[in-house]
Amino acid sequence: MANFYKTLNQTNDIVNTRTLLHEAIPLTGTIVSGTYGVENIKNYSHGMFQSVYDYPYLSSSANHIFDITAGYANNSGLSASANNQNSKKINIYNQMAQVMMGYDQTGSILQFDEDGDLLAGGTKQKENIFLNFSRLLVKDEIKKGSFELEIGVTPEYAQNGTVFGDRIKLADLSGSDGYLVNSPVGEYGILYATQSAGTNVMAAIGSGHSTPVGLLFYQAGVAVITGSIFLEVASGGILNNAHNNVSMSGPSSTEETVLAVLTGSQISGAADNIRTRIYNLQFNNTVELNSTVYFCRANHNEFNYSSNPTYLSGSKIRVKTQTTDVPVSYITTIGLYSDNNELMAVSKLSEPLKKTPDNEFTIRVRLDY
């Protein structure tokens, strides 16, 4: 191989770029609840959360999609020592809140704020459902403005799919331009609910987007959703009073409200109830690809000869039979060297380029990392 070293100009020949590659992640409700029964749902003896897979989890082919759990703050109206797994639900809330929201100046855990404006106080979300998405799906981050979660809110409980007649859609409508940055785990947006199927499902909305019902942490890949999405306005929720509270399944009755489920059921039971209400879930993720482009320039009077042994025949240049013949070489490979002339990388052309004094090339070598 012939070697000709040419120093790259740091200003003009080297450019750093960043590419955002996305993936569309559709997760229909049939994957979350239905297709495989409970074979793709994993519960743990600690009972703190439930894992959802895209295939029966005993198979090595299964991919973890997300974890689902629920909890409430210790100053929530739901908190009571008689509740099922009361301390675990409080611990879940506190753990998620301290990681996602951090502490105030007194060292107290900041609670999830409905509009993200921590200084102004405002409404706190004290009873929450948490969806922790797998890093396999989230990659670097959830693409802002792409998250959609559609939930069936038909009041009557059933397991035959009829709970999806009335639906609300939770989306980070302000994601692309209205995200917040006051979280220790990166940027987050507010999830707003809009009616997506049925009539008079949601209470009348004032001005603005729609009703804020949760927070979406883009880099952490966590959705925090208030339990009030299953409640009518009179009960502190967002649904039309005429629509009534949504009946969830529970250990004692199939007519329980989400409040009864959050207090009376174990976390895994609450996760079951919420999971079977998921109609559709989709988002796009983002992967940041960093690249450096090296513009390798071969001027007209450069790289026209080769020190390849085949370049000579009988000690004469093979391609020059007459003195008037111009030299010819074929460029097949470009080596990138360090300052000490150590070969760091090699780029190969798909086919050799014919180089003569009559032509010039700028070969664009891209290094992704």
Binding site: L20, I25, P26, D54, N63, G107, L137
Partner: protein, 383 residues
């Protein structure tokens, strides 16, 4: 939080050599990889979303219904970023700001090419230099010699994608077996580790000890030229006429578009080899020495009864001293144990020279540290 600098004895770079084993079993045109059955899903014929006998590159889209697959996309910009599956014409016809979409479930499996002077000769001709390059290992590599002229021979070329072997196939691990109705009629091995595929079984069989082909270890090819009869049973390897079994028919029906007739069902084949792959690991030793890392800025480190109390003036801002919480356990409920500064180490952060956090190692459970303890944490990073 304290920063420490790794010294030269705390950082190690190692190369780990791996030899992933692979086994393919082929019967009636179906490939089974590593004895894994091709399971049908509820929505797809093969649950991993690729044709039976193939591996899926990312193993995304497990048993997904049509139209519900994860797929990659990007927004066209001035950086000429695109997908390999998008043609130049298609890319150029896309406007800036438009979405360029590709698809997942990329698959790979072994393949079979039958090359002769009259068909697929380019596939063999393209390997002429490669064959000749390895002739220093064995004369059987030579493209044309007294041992045969590959341009005119019938060659059964088995192609193996690099996803199965990594950087090269490990020498001495290639083994091919040929069965008729479950009975072994031929076995090849590269036990000489020079690329020759020598018939080693069954003992005393026709062609035993002969070289039936060669292996291109770095390129992932097995070229079989053995044309002696392994078994007298005639099978319809050729649509025109039934043939007896030979190495040039090995792997009949493997993704080669050959129709597998009922008479060829009795033939089955296995191909085993180990790959050879290297990856680098960085080992970092992080030391927590005696008397160090015994203080925390965690709010729970101080007594909960101490609230933030400051005195301020025109020229001063003074925080009042706080009492560190005593968490030393006591055997007695009515006696306060002797105070000992205690922290729990839960994470080790790795920072670059500009103090940007570039990695975090988490302990499975926090490690209790007093001023009398010292620890060394061994961090391993695959790179």
């Amino acid at each position: 939080m304290a920063f420490y600098k790794f010294d030269e004895d705390d950082l190690f770079l190692n190369t780990v050599q791996t030899y992933p084993q692979n086994k393919f079993y082929i019967q009636s045109g179906t490939v089974y990889i590593n004895n894994f059955p091709n399971l049908a899903g509820q929505n797809t014929a093969n649950h991993i979303g690729v044709p039976a006998g193939f591996v899926s590159l990312y193993e995304y889209n497990i048993d997904r219904p049509a139209g519900n697959n994860i797929y990659p996309f990007l927004i066209k910009n001035g950086m000429k970023d695109g997908f390999k599956t998008i043609s130049q014409t298609e890319y150029n016809s896309t406007k800036y700001g438009d979405t360029i979409v590709s698809s997942y479930n990329m698959s790979a499996s072994i393949d079979r090419i039958i090359a002769s002077a009259t068909s697929n000769s380019a596939s063999i001709k393209a390997l002429e230099n490669t064959f000749n390059h390895y002739s220093y290992l064995s004369p059987h590599y030579q493209y044309s010699s007294s041992l045969g002229d590959k341009a005119n021979q019938t060659i059964n070329l088995i192609t193996i994608p690099s996803i199965f072997y990594g950087s090269s196939i490990k020498k001495g691990t290639v083994n091919l077996k040929y069965y008729i109705t479950g009975t072994l009629i031929g076995e090849l091995s590269d036990y000489r580790e020079n690329g020759d595929l020598v018939q080693v079984g069954p003992v005393g069989s026709t062609g035993s000890g002969s070289v039936a082909g060669v292996v291109l270890y770095n390129e992932g090819f097995v070229a079989l030229t053995g044309s002696w009869e392994l078994d007298s049973t005639t099978i319809k390897y050729d649509p025109a006429a039934a043939q007896t079994s030979k190495w040039i028919y090995y792997g009949f029906g493997v993704h080669d578009a050959a129709s597998v007739a009922l008479t060829t069902l009795s033939a089955s084949y296995s191909l085993e080899f180990s790959g050879s792959n290297q990856f680098q690991t960085m080992t970092m030793l992080a030391h927590a020495k005696y008397g160090e890392l015994n203080h925390s800025t965690n709010p729970t480190f101080v007594s909960s009864s101490d609230s933030l109390s400051v005195s301020t003036g025109s020229y001063q801002y003074i925080e009042q001293a706080k009492e560190i919480r005593n968490i030393v356990s006591s055997s007695f409920t009515d006696e306060e144990p002797k105070f000992e500064k205690t922290t729990y180490l839960s994470k080790v952060g790795i920072y670059d020279k500009d103090k940007n956090l570039i990695g975090i190692a988490k302990m499975a459970t926090p490690v209790r540290k007093t001023e009398a303890d010292q620890y060394t944490f061994k961090l391993k990073l695959d790179i």
